[in-house]
Assembly symmetry: C2
Homo-oligomer: 120 residues x 2
């Protein structure tokens, strides 16, 4: 993840519909969801609008697509999301580990909610 990739990713995430799409796909899991289904979930957005935003997200590397019959299935690109998090926080601990530990805790509790932290 270099600066240009990170910038493209943040640009993609800076638009309401696209941010919702990414979160919808993150919640949908690795299986993903068809373009039409995603459009339904986005207040019934038009197909051209969905295509525009989904293409934008795919170009930014945040989602993947595959054809399945007549539908095109989109899914979250989890490694890209992890890479973005890493990029954003890469230099977070320059002598001050306490400043980024909350982020680690938040992310850890997401993966292991029973581990003790009560998901603030």
């Amino acid at each position: 993840m270099d600066e240009k990739q990170a910038l493209d990713a943040f640009t993609a995430l800076s638009q309401e519909t696209r941010l919702r799409i990414v979160r919808f796909l993150v919640a949908a899991g690795p299986e993903g969801s068809a373009a039409g289904e995603i459009g339904q979930a986005m207040d019934g957005a038009s197909s051209s609008r969905m295509s525009f935003h989904l293409s934008h997200l795919e170009q930014a590397g945040l989602v993947l697509s595959r054809r399945e019959g007549r539908s095109i299935i989109y899914s979250a690109a989890y490694p890209a999301l992890s890479g973005l998090v890493e990029f954003l926080m890469r230099d977070c601990c320059q002598g001050h580990p306490e400043v980024c530990n909350p982020a680690v805790a938040a992310l850890s509790s997401c993966c292991e909610p029973a581990k003790g932290a009560s998901h603030a």
Copy 2:
């Protein structure tokens, strides 16, 4: 961190100069850096340009400011960055913890580089 706050944060981070400013301040640590110093680090950007971007970042909640003599010192808002990471990855583990563990590992290794993971 609600959707609007996250959107504002991503919008703020989607601009090259602002992304560099945030990373510069993250690396600068909690003490922060004066507006003029930051401007120097940004290829000598003009004061009005710096003011525009710094105000934008402050409104988005990503940086804090305080006056110190003639200068205004800006610093990274670490809790906001943690919150943004949490928001982005909040639903990352819907039955599939393996998809977000890389992000946890990346962030953990940032805080404890000697812990074993070789910072991919």
